[in-house]
Amino acid sequence: MSGAEMEDENELAGILADQVNRLLADTATREVKRAAELGDWPAALWAGVEEAGLPLALVSEDAGGVGAGWAEAEVVMRAAGRHQAPLPLVETMLAARMLEGAGLPIPDGPMTLAPIPPGDALTLDGERLSGRASRVPWGGRAGHVVLLLEGEGGTAIVLAEPGEPVANANVAREPRDDLTWTEAVVQAAPTNLSAGDLRHWGAFARAAQMAGALEFVLAESVRYANDRSQFGRPLGKFQAVQQQLAALAGEVAAAGASVLAAARALDRGRAGFEVACAKIRCGEAAGKAAAIAHQVHGAIGFTQEHALHFATKRLWSWRAEFGGEAQWSQELGREMARLGADRLWPFMTGARGA
């Protein structure tokens, strides 16, 4: 990309970010988030993002979508994380993209995708789906579930209505339901995506959401440190607090940079390395940043009333979803070990995705 093209792209991304952030800031309120924790479906919030075309961002214009690339999708996903919108927005974005790729119809309304960790047993017999998918984000709430099943006859994308749900949740109380199907009639089509691709997409989406939630955590912490006074001056004047917040800012900056790199690599078509790096780096930033933010906020940040926990609980959850740091680091470490010490630096500096 030339410098000028890059500037244009950044400008576009900036405009998009402003729009989405404004929309979500107005509608993803504390009350809406709290109600969602208690099980409400935020219908008005969903209507707003649907009207803005966000769920179909990654679908081509021909198929009724926005035709965005991963870099623009990252802007939306990051904003969704920044405002902790209690919706399967990123899940719908990914599910719709999977469906389009397989030539399946894209239904209206919220969708989700099944992460299918090892241990889930699912079988597709013609157009009949049986088995159990565990910890499906918003599984009981979504109108449709998209699954990727690898079988002897090849890999298929499946569009199903949610199976029988057993309600479950992550620590942020976002639904992560187990779904069971018994000979359910579904639509299926072959795909050239693999389960690995899907893991990358999921990990990327969670990393982008984390980067957004981290921005929120930093902004709130800085604001609080400037507003709250003790010993006759704002907390932000105390050097011990400043040092902590500077460290927090570093974590947030690294997380953001890692996700931008991953988005760019996805747009080029080969992103395994960058996505792994992003998931690892954002996960680590999540832990460190949440700890500092809570320390700076004192007891008020430890309450249900204060909004900080909507972000920090999501950080703790997203960190583990679609593979935590242990898993991604191990994979990456093994890959680098196979590559060998002498090829490590050339690999790091190579135009990997080009």
């Binding site: 604001r223 440190a225 932000g236 500077a246 800012a249 790199a261 060998g340 790091m348």
Partner: protein, 382 residues
């Protein structure tokens, strides 16, 4: 609150040929050296190597040709730097001139100073060091006391600089000196000079560091005469000049590679089928390094576009030093052989060196706490 901008940067494809050239050159010049020697990239002063680099046109790369530069882009310079550092080339001799003193003279020096010094820096023949710190002046740089008093046709310098890297090997020092003691603010009355370290009255004495290297020095000035034409910029403007110079120092888009050789050695020792524990730890380090490289590239891109990335560069330097210091820690956790310089394996030797060098990574060029203070101010906390 100011947003940090880390816009991703793609290196232009033309830089790949240059990268290949640099690699071939390094393979030839230092490829045979043992890893423990290559892990000393920052402290190894090797004038002959610097001259070879100068011949290649890889010092002062971005400067005008009129001053011995090569008018290449900041991104080409970035590629050369990262290759030198990752390979562990001895960078200590030319480094300061290339990164700091040269740009200072380009920006603030007189035409005569530029013509006199820049071509020699770029060819790897003139080496500069930086005289900021003093026995009673560390982080609080504006408190410098070494004086330059007016005399006929110049100044007389008296005082002591300390921790000056390579002063015992260098020809010249850019020194921050007090030209006026009658000021209300200690930031006023400071000026920068080019000091000839071979002039009468200058003694540079190496101070052995804990790794048994002669790297930094105490430099004493006793009635040393400096002619007027070696004042840099304007008398009394020293503080403003030195802060923008430090921005160059910290904008160095490569502040995370000091321990890179050890990552390679750890990976080598782990073999193609590492244990779970080693795979996790090494994968994590690689992820950190890859993200820091993206951030560094972004800083390089901002420099290339003429923007001011000093805040972003400060963030990179802070995170970079954390990683550089963590790498030897991880080596301790993962490998059993006792790290000594005489150990059987390269891994244990490199660990032994870096564990000793590591404390300096968060001191030189601004201590961690000072960098974080700068970041905090950027966040709007002061």
């Amino acid at each position: 609150m100011q947003d940090f901008r880390f816009t991703p940067l793609d290196l232009p494809p033309e830089t790949e040929a240059l990268r290949g050239e640099v690699r071939a050159f390094l393979d030839e010049t230092i490829g045979h050296e043992p890893p423990v020697l290559r892990s000393r990239t920052w402290s190894r002063f090797d004038g002959a190597f610097s001259r070879k680099l100068g011949d290649k046109g890889w010092i002062g790369m971005t400067w005008p040709r009129a001053y011995g530069g090569h008018e290449r882009s900041a991104l080409e310079r970035y590629v050369v730097l990262e290759e030198l550092l990752a390979a562990g080339a001895p960078c200590s001799a030319h480094w300061t001139g290339d990164r700091q003193s040269g740009p200072l003279l380009l920006n603030r020096g007189t035409e005569e100073q530029r013509r006199r010094f820049l071509p020699g820096i770029a060819s790897g023949e003139i080496f500069f060091c930086i005289g900021m710190s003093e026995p009673d002046t560390g982080s609080d740089l504006a408190s410098v006391r070494t004086r330059a008093d007016r005399t006929d046709g110049g100044y007389i310098v008296n005082g002591t600089k300390i921790w000056t890297s390579n002063a015992h090997e260098c020809d010249h020092m850019i020194a921050l000196l007090r030209t006026d003691t009658e000021v209300e603010r200690k930031h006023d009355g400071l000026s920068q000079f080019i000091l000839d370290l071979k002039a009468p009255g200058v003694t540079a004495r190496p101070i052995r560091n804990l790794a048994d290297e002669d790297h930094f020095n105490e430099v004493v000035f006793q009635d040393v005469f400096v002619p007027d034409d070696l004042l840099v910029g304007r008398e009394g403007d020293g503080w403003a000049q030195v802060t923008s110079e430090l921005a160059f120092e910290r904008s160095g888009p490569e502040r995370y590679l000091s321990s890179w050789i050890l990552v390679e050695e750890m990976l080598r020792a782990a073999g193609p089928e590492p244990s779970e524990r080693r795979a996790i730890a090494l994968g994590r380090l690689v992820a950190h390094a890859a993200v820091l490289r993206e951030m560094s590239l972004s800083v390089a891109g901002q420099l290339q576009r003429g923007e001011d990335p000093s805040l972003e560069a400060t963030v990179v330097k802070d995170l970079g030093a954390l990683l550089e210091q963590q790498i030897p820690e991880v080596a301790h956790e993962l490998y059993e052989e006792e790290p000594t310089l005489e150990a059987a394996s390269d891994l244990a030797q490199v660990t032994a060196y870096l564990v000793q060098a590591a404390p300096s990574f968060s001191l030189r060029g601004g201590a961690r706490e000072i960098l974080r203070g700068i970041i905090a101010r950027g966040l709007g906390l002061r």
